[in-house]
Amino acid sequence: MIRISRILVLATLVFAACSTEDDSNGGGNSNDNFDRGAMLANWADNVIVPSFENFQSETQKLEAAAKNFAANPEMSELEALRAQYEDAYLEFQTVSMFQIGKAEELNYRNFLNTYPVNESSLESKIASGEYNLSLPSSFTEQGFPALDYLLYGYGSAEATLEKLGGNENYSNYLVAISERINALTSEVTASWQGDFRDTFVNNTGSSSTGSVDRFTNDYVMYFEKILRSGKIGYPSGALTGTPSPGNAEALYAGISKELYLKAFNSFEDFYKGKTGPSYSQYLDYLGSMKDGSDLDALIRDQFEAIKAQSADLNNNLKSQVESDNTKMLTAFDELQKAVILLKVDMMQSLSTSVDYVDSDGD
């Protein structure tokens, strides 16, 4: 008997040691199991890739419009460029949350939408004609906030045309930042159209490096930091106690509410999954085995509350902060309730480890 037990110990140790590499990507697609592969495929094929493709066509038009204006600095070209800037900025809100893969590697979101813009250093760079837009230190001198400043920051269309039209430094810079927005977007879109899509979809593992875990961390972080803090929290001073309307998005064009709602709706659509399974269905699947409250319904209700409250907001959130900031603070509180549902309850239900902590547990 002792002999057997010794053999068993050895066999077990060997078996257990082998099972250390348990980050396997076994499909496990039986019918009574929620299919994460299908969810990832839905995310990639029906949401992420089409969103990037749409946005890319906008950034192409943006680059073209900027070049048009540079070649022919007239009022009609300026108006076309201004309109295209708004269209592209709006479309950007549908991809901003996908900071994973190439976008993460490139620091895509920071290059396209770090605000408020640093006006004085932007002006001095334009005046000198020397700049390197690929430096992280130039986040605040490019992207949509820089376009916003250049296209709307000088006041009326006439004043803007006068400022930009007669000066090659300005039109060169406009072209340079539009080109960069388009180039970065092409790069990210191409990676999704290429290998990255499969890498993403096939990484169905349950470890902290699996796609669902990683994406969920980014997705929730986006809601908390970019949507809640960035668009509402900082301008209203909910986080600092001091309102600073100058921190609103699209400060000069004054379209901040539209951008906020576009971003929020995209986030909600993603949660609901559009044409296929997403978090909503995943939580339903897990919730069906759990007593207590229906988490999916709580989250959907909170999304409705956020949208209902936002009807009270001025189209320009900067003006809203200046005229009646309590409405902004209410908006923040509603968003905050969703943060807790997403970050605490949803992450717990999905058993998603917070970020890539890979140390031992009990």
């Binding site: 076994g26 106690g241 085995m289």
Partner: protein
């Protein structure tokens, strides 16, 4: 047949089981240290963070920058010396001190397993684990003994028994048994395991695991003690721990427990193991089989027995200290640690700290990622003693930055075992009015549910 302590203390047994235990313990500890290092965890957990959470009364234990590696080197070498039985007493003291120092540096990384290693190595200081099959005994035949007092081996069994039995007792609660929590959250997320993945989705599996886990923990010490059930019990030990290894990120612990359980077997098995090892190492095992019996006498015996007795009285009573606190243990975590409450909770939290100028009313929120790693933030967000320590740290930090009349408040939410998240700390309370202590923390909001059981 009355049990007589005097007679019991005079009983002797073979030293081989304890020697085997020492050898494997040392090797596994060395492997654990190497694994920890290779995983980059020394850097990640003890060097990179800007702030470390201290245990009450051990605020002076901090990582030493790059010298932290030195502590791990000392610990690793000590573990090897323990394995070899070379300058054993010095080695095991060094191991205990360095390992415990490492664990005290930041309570973020607290695990019951680490606490187990700490107290086990403390106990081993007082056991003659080096009198047989060791370098010490090889070099100095005067220190070599084939037999030792029975209690020396039994004390290891008792400690293992306490760990299992208390872990079993802790599982007798309504969340574990009647809601299958937290296994119901954890198991379905293992959908990608080969063979087991689909099974993990079944509700009956969650309940089966919960109940059998409870029964296993409660009864395994007794099944190992009783000769007739020992072998099947050991098979169960292997299956149980391998399963936990496959299902959870649990590191070296399963191997340590499997190997430790060998101590329940008769000396015959241990002699065979040592014979095999002697063969590999080409040393003569006979040299140790000198038939001499180690006798503890006089002061030495009294001192060793006194320390070991006090040690076990503490071990047996300490896990019950939670009864002295009001409120739900899982919610307040007052008296939760050091009590073999393993895998009982899935808890997640969210804590947003607000720094307020008490005079002007000006306020701002803290970005926790400025000060804490994601791991630390996670642990902090649902443990009150972390929250209070962090609040004081924030006050110090912002005072240095020139802020005045600082008050610290926290908006926090915690979800426990699948319940909807609920407010956790009273948001109206200035945390600076409280210092960490063993007293009940009155600023924890009540738990709006009931978990029945021990």
């Amino acid at each position: 047949m009355r049990f007589s302590p005097g007679k019991y203390l005079k009983k002797n047994t073979e030293a081989a089981p304890l020697a085997v235990f020492r050898l494997f313990f040392g090797i596994m500890m060395f492997a654990s240290i190497v694994r920890f290092w290779l995983n980059g965890w020394i850097e990640k957990l003890y060097i990179a963070p800007k702030f470390f959470f201290s245990y009450y009364g051990f605020e002076w234990v901090k990582p030493l920058g790059d010298f932290t590696y030195l502590i791990f080197i000392i610990c690793g070498i000590a573990a090897l010396m323990v394995a070899a039985g070379y300058k054993y007493r010095l080695a095991i003291v060094l191991f205990f001190l360095s390992f415990t120092y490492i664990e005290l540096m930041d309570k973020t990384t607290y695990l019951n397993h680490y606490y187990f290693i700490s107290i086990l190595s403390f106990l081993m200081i007082f056991l003659p684990a080096n009198v047989y099959f060791s370098v010490d005994a090889f070099r100095d035949p005067a220190k070599a003994f084939q037999k030792i007092p029975n209690w020396c081996v039994d004390s290891i069994k008792l400690l293992l028994g306490i760990v299992y039995f208390y872990a079993g007792l802790a599982k007798i609660n309504s969340d574990w048994l009647f809601r299958a929590m937290p296994l119901k959250i954890w198991l379905p997320s293992k959908y990608d395991l080969p063979l087991l993945g689909d099974l993990m989705q079944q509700e009956w599996v969650h309940y089966a695991f919960s109940w059998s886990g409870m029964l296993y923990d409660l009864f395994i010490p007794f099944l190992l003690l009783w000769k007739k059930t020992r072998f099947p019990a050991f098979i169960m030990v292997i299956i149980f721990h391998v399963l936990t290894r496959v299902l959870f990120p649990i590191g070296m612990f399963p191997y340590i427990m499997i190997v430790s359980a060998l101590i329940f077997f008769s000396p015959k098995l241990h002699h065979r193991i040592l014979k095999k090892i002697s063969g590999w190492l080409k040393i003569s095992k006979q040299r140790f089989d000198n038939s001499r019996t180690l006798v503890f006498a006089g002061l030495k015996q009294q001192l060793s027995l006194a320390v070991v007795s006090v040690f076990f009285i503490i071990q047996i009573s300490f896990p019950w200290r939670y009864l002295l606190y009001p409120g739900e243990l899982f919610w307040t975590e007052e008296g939760f640690r050091f009590s073999w409450r393993v895998m009982l909770m899935e808890k997640a939290g969210y804590a947003q700290f607000k720094v307020v100028d008490g005079e002007t009313g000006k306020r701002f929120y803290v970005d926790n990622s400025d000060f804490l790693t994601p791991f630390q933030e996670k642990q902090m967000s649902f443990q009150p003693d972390f929250i209070i320590e962090y609040a004081h740290f924030l006050a110090e930090h912002f005072k240095k930055d020139g802020h005045k009349n600082i008050e610290i408040y926290v908006d926090s939410y915690v979800a426990l075992n699948g319940r909807k998240s609920a407010p956790y700390i009273d948001p109206e309370v200035n945390l600076l009015n409280f210092a960490d202590s063993f007293e009940h923390k009155t600023f924890i909001l009540p738990f709006n549910d009931e978990i029945k059981g021990l």
